[in-house]
Amino acid sequence: MSSADVEARPREGHPDIEARLREPWSDLETDHATAFARQRAGATFGIWIFLASEVLFFGALFLTYTAARLANQEAFAAAGRETNIVYGTLNTAILLTSSLTMAVASQAAEKGLFRRLTLGCLAATAALGLAFLVVKGFEYREDIEKHLVPGAHFALAQAPAQIFFAFYWLVTVVHAIHLSIGIGLVTRLIAKGRRDPDFLKENPQVEVTALYWHLVDLVWVFLYPMLYLPGRSG
Amino acid sequence: MFGRLMPESASLQAVLTDRILIGLTIASALILALVVGLLLFFSIRFRRGSKANRHPLPENVSREFEIGWTAATIFLFVFVFWWAASAEIGAYSVPPNAIEIHVVAKQWMWKTQASNGAREINELHVPVDRPVKLIMTSQDVIHSFFVPAFRLKRDVLPDQQTEAWFQATKTGTFHLLCTEYCGTDHARMLGRVIVMEPEAYARWLSVQPEGDDLAHQGERLFSERGCAGCHAPGSAVHAPSLAGIWERPVPLEGGRFATADAAYIRDSILQPGRDVVAGYAPVMPSYAGLLDDGEIQAITAYIRALGSEPGVVRSLGTPEVRSNVPGGVRERSTAMVPGAPVLDQPAPAGPAVRP
């Protein structure tokens, strides 16, 4: 960039940090270590703002569910009984475990010392994410066989049960899209981390990916009682 | 002149609403005059280089000003809220002696039914000085029942009931308008409210037939025998809407056209696979043996009563706009036709829904 030429001023610093500094943080009037710390904080802050936005996104979906459920309690209980609680619970466990591995990967990368641990945990996270999608695929197949897709051949008699399943399909697909994006981001980190030994070390991208991953997990934590637990006792 | 700036006021609510309006208009005009006056005065008096006296600016005056006008606006706004809200709370409770009128809205007409079953289309006869309660629902999309002279508006929702009430204070004929956008002919979904002296209203009511004619039998059959399950708007099954098709050309599979007359409707009920409407799957079962001739006649009468105006158009193509002015067609209110006489007397025509 032309600015770097014009602004070439002597600054103490480590070449490896300098390589990871990006615009506009590289132009800050501080030494590289401070600039890099601010770039890191900037990344964390930015992703948190985005996560706040995502909270409103899923909040609006959950509100739709809540309003429909309040108006149609029995139908929602009857519909909730039809989802497969085994798959649902298994998938919740898988995602919570993936959050554990993701958290360890992120904290290890932050320390910058445990490259193999970071890579291993990232790989485990991506694998667990894929496992979730596979289980979800089996569940979808069963749902379709049980005629739980809203429409002419819907299995349940109560009309509002279709609203439950409309929500079920919509929100699980939206969640799966989010999760797939997460798997893509984690895979990207693994690929770059394998090529460049220093890539993962203290890289804010790991933390950003991790925070996004946890949010996707949190959404599922709430979807679990919404989709799988209603009407079990009836 | 003032009369031209205010709509006619013909209900109890209109008086309350106008009073708040006038109060708010005066307050707003004063505030606007103050702001614009100060803007002009300051910018001219303190124009660049003018000799106006620019005394030093005291340090803390801005803080006191801020607190002052914040408090003043809060006080003013809370007062207006209290005033408007108290008028509104009164408007929510329906007097117990109100007469009940059922209103059904559909694309693009108003159907009303008095308590004795007398039905009207795009018209509503009510007595003066009696509270009238409207119980409203829609057959398709959201509409809104708006009578400007009564300062009355309430959305009409499909598959839900909304209520509103008014008490007319003047006899006369008033606009009834749809104010929630509802599709192609939203601007032509017009009617009129005719407010009559109590005796005239009683006379009018006594000459109306009391409901349940052939078309209404058909309407009942239409839902009882399951026709509505597929042909009603919003049904999960992809079936053509029957509203507004009477004696109009219907596109068939293969580019042919049929006219939706009694014979075609009878054929479609008994041999549904023969002339399938273009764009639809031949999924309708035959009703041969399930409906007798009288019942088919009733259903035909019902479809006829739905009119030949374009109805719920989902796949039948874009309806033609055949008239440049609102009104003119049988169901349209003549009150909306430019130059048409305004009738104070009961309309000679009976209910429009008649086989």
Binding site: P24, F45, S53, L56, A166 | V35, R63, W83, Q160, V312
Partner: protein, 563 residues
């Protein structure tokens, strides 16, 4: 405008920078250098080009609508065509012109300059945001070319999901996409303002425009996702037949309205808060006076941004909403008017004992204050339930929101465009033409929209292409005003384009303003500043504390300096 001998136009020799400015405009001339730029200033230009295009698409639709309404009969357009045109007008103007107008052009250009930063916090995200906006806009225009949409910009269910036979899903996807552009911009601005302020630029030294962008970004981030979900639900119901809002299958169409207005009411503030920021800059600069009550102006911006989220229900008083909820929303709607009133009084107070000039930017700004006041006061009518019940969905509402969104916001956009035009392009525009356009715009606007208040109270519903003849007089006035307004909007297109080619070279600080953006060359270099900005004081240092400005006030040290 004063021209001095120095090439940078700075009076203070300390601030002279004799290196030749390498303008951001000269930093690469290929198409690629524009389309793949991460320079916030170039992205601002990209946005300016696209929103101008959308402004004239939306304006063309409005012209046809007003033409049709000149007579009570349908003599120009068929009903369906009319319905598609007002929908197009609304969708394009709201999401592809007004929402991105000030934030993404002036905001993108100025926020880093005003806080003394080199760029926004995430330059690539900034570029992505433009592509999302263009992508969404393309989908919406594609829907128009394929046959249009007839739902109105509000997409009310069940009309949009079950009944409309037009290109609803495509349009909705376009709006959905551009929503993410808004979120990206919001994230970017919030992070930039938090993290990249120059040394010494404390929160209460920020120019009010930056505060306005900050609060706007807050609304971008927190309101837009709800719109995204709402539109997603519409597409799901329409395309996949999933029952969500369809009342025939147990859904609640009023719930759609709640979700829609949770976004779309704050969206009004997304349009007007940036305008308030612009106007604060203009009024203080052209009255050579510190802004009156700076801290109250800041609190008012924040208060509007927060309380603005509590008031959406006043769009739904006639919808069948519960009367209790209606009262709560009515009260909150009155509350949000208080900070807006404070701002109006403060702008007026700023003129007091100033040295007021009448260059074109302040003409736009004074027009803004007048139109915003009238728009805001009629908002009180709409917050009063009995009046709202009568005028809801009539031309009264149409007039009210055009006063806020067009009268106020578009005036401020034009004012800001003129004010910063020398900085952005390095050229000066013909001042006489600009003043004439500003005055014409003000009168054209009032002629167009004031009669609509009366027509609305008389009972003329909106979205009618034929109407009872007694409303004709008001519609004729309004259509005549629209013709004037169209001319007034086309004039800047002409003379500003002219100035790009033939305008005089602008000095660095033609208005003698104090902000950091005037501490650099016109147009600024790629890296914004030669040297590093240091901020020593608050904004608007036009005159010594406690003393009114005198004629030919000597320049005080501006807000910051470069080291």
């Amino acid at each position: 405008m004063s021209t001095t001998a120095s090439p940078t136009g700075l009076a203070d020799p300390d601030e002279l920078d004799l290196r030749l400015p390498v303008s951001y405009l000269a930093d690469g001339h290929s198409v690629r250098s524009w389309l793949l730029t991460t320079d916030h200033k170039r992205i601002a230009i990209l946005y300016a080009v696209t929103i101008t295009l959308f402004f004239f698409i939306g304006g063309a639709a409005a012209t046809l609508v007003r033409l049709e309404l000149a007579t009570p009969e349908a003599d120009v357009l068929r009903a369906d065509t009319y319905n598609k045109l007002f929908t197009l007008h609304g969708v394009v103007m709201v999401w592809f012109f007004l929402i991105p107008s000030i934030p993404n052009t002036l905001g993108n250009f100025l926020v880093p300059l005003m806080i003394g930063a080199r760029d926004v916090a995430y330059p690539k995200l900034n570029l992505i945001s433009w592509y999302l906006n263009v992508g969404g806009g393309s989908l919406a225009v594609a829907a128009l070319l394929l046959g249009g949409v007839d739902t109105g910009w509000t997409f009310y269910v069940p009309y949009s999901t079950v009944f409309s036979n037009t290109w609803v899903s495509l349009t909705v996807l376009g709006v959905f996409t551009t929503g993410f552009s808004s979120i990206a911009t919001g994230v970017n601005f919030i992070a930039t303002i938090h993290l990249l302020r120059a040394p010494g630029m404390t929160w209460f030294r920020l120019p009010l425009f930056v505060w306005a962008m900050y609060t706007t970004s807050l609304m971008f981030v927190l309101a837009t996702p709800v719109l995204a979900v709402t539109l997603l639900l519409v597409v799901a119901e329409r395309t996949f037949g999933l029952p969500i809002f369809d009342p025939a299958r147990g859904g609640d169409p009023v719930l759609f309205q709640h979700l829609f207005w949770f976004y779309s009411h704050p969206a009004v503030y997304i349009m007007v808060l940036p305008a308030m920021g612009v106007v604060s800059e203009l009024i203080t600069c052209f009255s050579r006076r510190k802004v009156f009550g700076y801290t109250f102006m800041v609190y008012a911006l924040v208060a509007i941004a927060v309380i603005g989220f509590f008031t959406w229900g006043h769009h739904m008083f006639t919808s069948g909403m519960s009367p209790y909820a209606a009262l709560v929303f009515s009260f909150l709607s009155f509350v949000v008017a208080v900070p807006s009133a404070i701002k109006v009084f403060n702008w007026t107070g700023t003129l007091y004992r100033g040295q007021v000039g009448f260059e074109s930017p302040i003409l736009y700004a004074l027009g803004f204050v007048g139109l915003f006041t009238l728009g805001g006061l009629t908002g009180l009518f709409l917050a009063s339930i009995p009046i709202d019940v009568h005028v809801q969905d009539t031309y009264f509402v149409v007039a009210h929101f055009h006063y806020i969104m067009v009268g106020a916001s578009v005036s401020a956009y034009f004012g800001g465009l003129h004010f910063w035009w020398p900085k952005i392009t390095g050229r000066t525009y013909p001042e006489t033409w600009a003043r004439f356009a500003a005055i014409l715009m003000f009168f054209g606007f009032n002629l167009t929209f004031f009669p609509q208040f009366i027509a609305g109270y008389l009972g003329m519903p909106r979205r009618y292409h034929v109407y009872p003849p007694e409303f004709q007089i008001w519609n004729v006035l309004s259509s005549a005003g629209a013709a004037v307004l169209a001319v007034a909007y086309l004039m800047p297109l002409g003379y500003l384009t002219w100035s790009l080619l033939f305008g005089e070279r602008a000095t660095n600080n033609p208005w003698d303003a104090t902000g950091l953006e005037w501490r650099t060359s016109s147009p600024p270099p790629r890296q914004n500043f030669f040297g590093s900005p240091r901020v020593q004081g608050g904004p608007y240092n036009y005159h010594p504390e406690g003393v009114a400005p005198i004629h030919d006030q000597p320049r005080l040290p501006s807000q910051g300096s470069l080291t």
